[in-house]
Subunit: 283 residues, 4 copies
């Protein structure tokens, strides 16, 4: 429980691992796991360190400040998160319940290192699911002409519930830049197609038309560019000529749940770093 | 050995299975396997019947003629192939040898119900591979300005060797309509991307740029529309941020071999039917 | 809706497909799909015919009787089921809820061609799940000394609810021969290991000890021989040295759900035939 | 090229990462990648560090000595390997050529960080394959009564060719303890079954009898205990009732190649550590 995660990126140069491990060692931290990655093309170095801070003397505040000094001195970008500050997550849904159920159940099994504290929907249909897991459910209808005001309501709800990140669990509305900006790199979406193929609406119909032999799903961070945000996970499932569009929809549910759950878990455990249009997901 | 494969398609209506099984039964044929498929949207019925003709009295000629009569009477399209008329296959390659080796080895293990009788390439590099398996290798260089005349040479080679179908085993040239027309639905290509994503050149570079988490390969029949012919098989393999473009190329080789071999086997066994832009591949 | 499924097996001989298709044709039936399989070693022929009986004049009773005559005349074993007689299914659970939720949700999406009419458990814990889906939940505690009497109670419940088949959704009790006999080939179990490896208790611990790189799950019909009944489906998921036994348990949940749902769907659609120790599952 | 790999294991305690990174930093080494693993049950810590030693002043000899000192002082087990000392590998085969071809081709594509310098077989059949890739092929027939003397001959060949590790590419002989001891943790075998199921002879026949729905293959280090050495990789492929034993053999070839190649690559790159009966394979 008393652990923390340090993520940094910097130009690749000698001694980064040494400097970071020295920094932690000198303050009584014990490295549980450390992972690195170097983007060869840019000579950019990424590191995630999971460490035990039970025997550290400094406060979180001090640790942060000293880390910032280390970062400034070495021209690194640094971020630290503490496991005892559990993330609070909101789920946006429309009418499909499979991803919602899946997230609730995985949370219940202890698979997700975050709390589901709020469900928001543009429809009233799934209230009973949230009720079943004792989580507040707010219905905020979206009318085309008043989309911004609706999103403002949602943003208020998020602030009120101290939301750290947002999961679009088959939410059938395109977010405005307002929302995207407010939670940059903290909104996770699931697209029911193998991106970058089948962007936009009705990906299963598109897949059927093309006669593909695999259908897929993609989880990604949301950016202004629809269905083009950094990909977190993808999965496919084999189909053949016997499958109708309805079959694809049904088979797709399983992979949608899988890639979304993977992304939510990884985000909750601070295992993702975004660089340009790509994600680094430390396992 | 003395078996035949009957493939038919027609409007879906009562009695097709009965009429076909009656036709074969009355002539002494024994159904080994029969498969059907109905395209719901079009009410189109497809059938493949694999039958034993050892106890049939009629000649192939007679069988064909009588089948044509049955087809005409019932407004069906019919095709029959005989297992003792083994298909003759030509492979077109450029410089990559992995698909070529894979096809030769699978052929040697008896996995492919066809004979590899000719290898043609626009480069001399892979002659030793064909030599190793004792198959003639013809080098026909392709110069941009004289593409048609080069393809005419290749077509001549095909006629000379009685080629039934053609496999592009990472052949790095776009075929002209001349060739495509001459062997319609009989040219199989492998594309090193998950079509319809990543059409055209350098699919692994495209995949890397998009930061996808799965790369794929696709085997398909060749049509005039580049990389858009009916898909026969697709396969993906998981990748992550640690993989460079070179790694993708290397990991892609395995799936390229797999989807191409699948398509070649299915075609050789007359298990594929093409309808509109989609394939029906009976297992 | 007005369709029926005919399953037959017999010695393999000429004319079976013809005789069956003739039988149906003459009575106004229309074959939607027909699949065959021949066990080469035994020369045993299996067939499943899905046909439309809207235009058939005969009653179900007459159809059954005439089929029995056909079967007797040709020395075949025949079984017919009618799609308008939807199967009634009972689920047995203990304390794990993932398979139970999964079955309820798939049923709700229309994926399972049967009704969940009863949940029985040896613990009271999961009543709320059944309640959420409005299905009666009966708790029948099992005490070692009185196992038979407990199972008699359960059997009574089954009769009372006209149960056609039973699904053990991680039910942690070994069934007595009494129960196995009463529902032979109609009890489906999920084992959380890749059978025949890891039979018996604690398969994930066994898998961990062996340092396997894939864990699996198996769905099968229940026989007297524990964990040795005919296998219906299996699935694996990759693991590595970083995964603890708890991780295996968590990762295993997904494959357990998948193989069990596959088996339940196939059984409900009359797509499974059992021959010796093996299953034929028509897709 | 001028890189080295350091593998260590020790009791888990604070400061190991720090001490190792300090050791390398002070000598001018640059960490390219570092991976850790802790076996929770035993509180045992494992680490693999891949580092650049171009700017290191010390000789290999000095580096080794100083590392041994560090290890002794901290009660760690340490092993260091240098990338410019490319491993020399021998392949043992019998009559199946698919794994042999696969290893040669992957080596040719640069996928394997080792040299194939010798092929030994108890049969003369595959000489032409080795010849095709210009590698010496020695035939050492194994007679039951003189197994030890035959293995002595093979061991001599290994010494003569400075062999570092051995790959059994479907070698159909059980090794004697003599050989196993001489190359402990340096003999890699591929078993054509999903171990620990289907140990011993004819695993595909066993799999067929059990009616499994997935067949598999396993690569592992060879120990005295037949088919029970530490597992390196496993893979499965889906099968069904239509597949004969011969089909399983054919489908199994692909997974055998895959798991063996994975193990050979990982071993060649010093990415494997063995602890008790399990392997840690750093990716």
């Amino acid at each position: 429980m008393h652990t923390a995660v340090l993520r940094l990126n910097s130009e690749d140069k000698k001694g980064i691992v040494y400097n970071v491990s020295k920094f932690l060692y000198e303050r009584g931290g014990n490295i549980i796991d450390a992972q690195q990655h170097t983007e060869q093309l840019d000579n950019r170095f990424f590191m995630r360190v999971h460490f035990d801070r039970r025997e550290m003397q400094c406060t979180k505040q001090e640790l942060k400040r000293e880390l910032d000094e280390l970062a400034a001195a070495n021209n690194m970008e640094v971020e630290i998160t503490f496991n005892d500050e559990r993330k609070r997550m909101a789920i946006l849904v429309s009418r499909y319940d499979h991803c919602l159920y899946d997230l609730f159940l995985r949370h219940q099994y202890g698979e997700i290192n975050a709390d589901i504290v709020l469900v928001v929907s543009n429809h009233p249909d799934l209230e009973h699911v949230a009720a079943n897991f004792k989580v507040p459910y707010c219905c905020v209808p979206i009318e085309k002409s008043e989309k911004e005001s609706a999103e403002n309501k949602i943003l208020e709800l998020f602030q009120q519930h101290y939301i750290d990140f947002i999961v679009l669990a088959r939410y059938m509305q395109v977010l405005t830049p307002l929302m995207v900006n407010a939670y940059r790199k903290r909104i996770i979406n699931v697209h029911h197609g193998f991106l970058p193929a089948f962007k936009g609406a009705k990906p299963y119909h598109q897949a059927y038309e093309h006669g593909v032999k695999l259908i897929g799903a993609t989880s990604h961070y949301v950016t202004e560019d629809l269905d083009m945000g950094p990909i977190i996970q993808q999965e496919t499932v084999r189909v053949n000529h016997t499958h109708s569009v309805e079959d694809l929809v049904s088979m797709g549910r399983d992979v949608e749940k899988k890639v979304l759950a993977y992304a939510v878990k990884a985000h909750a455990e601070d295992r993702i770093m975004v660089y340009r249009h790509r994600t680094i997901v430390f396992e």
